[in-house]
């Protein structure tokens, strides 16, 4: 009789171990996904900044707008070193500056008349759209990870190890409406 009890106990422990190992595997994959999503967002933000600066110094926009764009892009580029929150603010500022810069259909079509200008605006619009997508995918991964990390078993058995609690990126990433339409 006691034989069966021991066998059943071993079996339960084994299944429990498998469950823990699988949950740890899930968390591992989710952390990896967050990491790649963060890198992807970094790449897209850097691209957006680079295109903005290129456009600002291309001579296609007036000098005042050029200065404003360069300043916002520069602030965004250097903000990463200051901290997470500072970066979110600087990148949001860049989004708003871009939206204000290309708010007048007349201005936009003036730039688009030049083939080089049209290509610039298309690239910029696409880059803004990709920033929006990347951030959305990152926050999606963070939400999924938080959900698994809040499981009782994950907390009791410290399945997440020493990784920090995942953070979403909160910023204004609305692409300039006139550029995203094209």
């Amino acid at each position: 009789m006691s034989w069966w009890w021991i066998l059943a106990l071993v079996l339960v422990l084994l299944l429990f171990g498998i469950y823990l190992s699988m949950t740890a595997g899930r968390l591992d994959r989710l952390h990896l996904r967050i990491e790649s999503a963060e890198r992807a967002l970094d790449v897209q933000l850097a691209l957006r900044t680079a295109i903005t600066i290129d456009l600002a110094v291309s001579g296609l926009v007036d000098p005042v707008l050029g200065a404003v764009l360069t300043d916002a892009a520069h602030a965004a580029r250097t903000s990463a070193a200051l901290g997470v929150r500072e970066r979110e603010i600087a990148e949001s500022d860049l989004s708003r500056t871009l939206s204000l810069a290309f708010v007048d259909p007349e201005d936009v079509s003036e730039i688009q008349r030049d083939p080089e200008g049209a290509a610039f605006l298309e690239d910029l619009g696409a880059a803004c759209r990709r920033v929006e997508l990347s951030r959305r995918f990152l926050n999606d991964a963070v939400r999924a990870c938080r959900q698994v990390r809040s499981l009782r078993m994950a907390r009791w058995f410290h399945l997440a190890g020493r990784t920090s609690w995942p953070q979403t990126v909160e910023m204004d990433d609305t692409p300039p409406p006139l550029l995203s339409a094209s």
Partner: protein, 394 residues
């Protein structure tokens, strides 16, 4: 970019998802990307050179109907081999909830993965285990796309998380050829219908019962009917003297479908349900045919609440007849609807839709990161590794 696409359903059985994937692949190839599609294949016909044979599906009972699925070690090894050799920058699986090659691909791969949700699905107790497993395998997916608001809602409600809405597309250029069927266009009024006759949700019966009403006003009315099914059976409810108004073309080729759409005065879509997106309307609009459709939610969205086509209350033959006869009597309205509809179809052109999908790819790929096999964290995955090693050794 090297893109690996996984199709859940047989490539040689035309269906919404397979057609979507064909158009997507061709759009990606036109944009200069390298594409490989892994799809189940029954061995009928020839595969295009970008499609890889994913094996013959097996018919099994699943979720209340018979589904044709690929599973087992042989299928898993095929998927593994395809991923190993593909060296993809991004893996794009379709319909990840249907147990198929898509699920296997999600299971054995890691790296940038994108998933597209096509259909909406109600959660049932029998499926809750499937949803749980889907939730776990979806944790690997970096980006999710839904083709319709309904599909997105299924995902949000049952799996959690969000999806980018990228509507289905139509390749407008494929419908441009203005050739018509011999003898058309003709006077007297010609209507068109497209779809299976024996599938009640396509609504042929609604149209059939509207024809006697219409014939009273338009004695020369003709209805071109394209789609598989038995005409005798489909006309069961129609009195014998009205049957001459119908011309059955049977299952038509793509070229004949375009000719048919260019031959008609109005395209009728009397569907009574089951449409998550009105691709059939877009095809008619891309051909310049004015559209009359039932007022299903999906159709109303495509027609933008009646701006690009006329609607009638779903399943009502009288309403269909009155909307259609008003349109047949008004050639000016038909002309302006044709122009407006064409512009609307261009909004859903694959050129544009394809670029949006590529934007999603670009926002998840990373330089130097490829799609690789995933063997971590899965006991079963580790077992499978020893098995693939055996195969390569022998």
């Amino acid at each position: 970019m090297r893109v690996g696409l996984v199709c859940p359903y047989s490539w040689d059985v035309p269906g919404g998802v397979a057609v979507h994937m064909r158009d997507l692949s061709e759009s990606l190839i036109r944009q200069g990307h390298e594409v490989s599609v892994l799809a189940p294949f029954d061995g009928e016909g020839v595969l295009p050179d970008y499609v890889v044979d994913g094996g013959r599906p097996v018919a099994v009972a699943y979720n209340g109907s018979v589904a044709r699925l690929n599973f087992g070690w042989k299928a898993t090894r095929r998927v593994r081999k395809w991923i190993q050799e593909g060296d993809f920058d991004v893996l794009h699986v379709h319909e990840p909830l249907s147990p198929s090659l898509s699920v296997l691909a999600c299971w054995v791969a890691q790296g940038p993965i994108v998933a597209t949700w096509h259909s909406s699905m109600a959660r049932s107790r029998a499926l809750s285990a499937v949803f749980y497993l889907a939730q776990i395998s979806m944790e690997k997916v970096s980006a999710r796309i839904a083709v319709s608001e309904e599909a997105r809602r299924t995902l949000v409600a049952h799996i959690g998380g969000d999806a980018v809405l990228i509507a289905n597309g139509v390749t407008v250029a494929n419908f441009a050829d203005p050739a018509t069927l011999p003898g058309y266009p003709r006077a007297g009024g010609t209507l068109g219908f497209l779809g299976r006759l024996d599938e009640p949700r396509k609504g042929f019966d609604v149209l059939a019962r509207a024809v006697p009403v219409l014939a009273a006003r338009f004695p020369d009315l003709r209805v071109l009917v394209a789609g598989p099914g038995d005409p005798e059976e489909a006309l069961g409810a129609v009195p014998a003297e009205f049957r001459d108004h119908f011309i059955f073309l049977g299952r038509v080729s793509d070229a004949d479908k375009v000719r048919m759409l260019h031959s008609i005065d109005a395209f009728i879509a009397p569907n009574t349900g089951g449409e998550s997106f009105g691709i059939v309307l877009l095809e008619a609009m891309a051909s310049g045919a004015p559209v009359v459709s039932s007022d299903l939610l999906a159709f109303r969205r495509v027609l933008d609440e009646g701006r690009y086509g006329r609607t009638f209350s779903t399943g009502d033959p009288q309403a269909l007849a009155s909307v259609t006869s008003a349109l047949l009597e008004d050639p000016d309205a038909r002309k302006s609807m044709s122009t407006a509809g064409y512009e609307r179809a261009r909004h859903f052109d694959w050129e544009r839709v394809g670029r949006e999908v590529v934007a999603v790819y670009e926002s998840v790929v990373l330089p130097g990161v490829k799609v690789r096999e995933d063997l971590r964290g899965q006991i079963v995955g580790r077992l499978a590794r020893s098995k693939t090693n055996d195969v390569s050794a022998s």
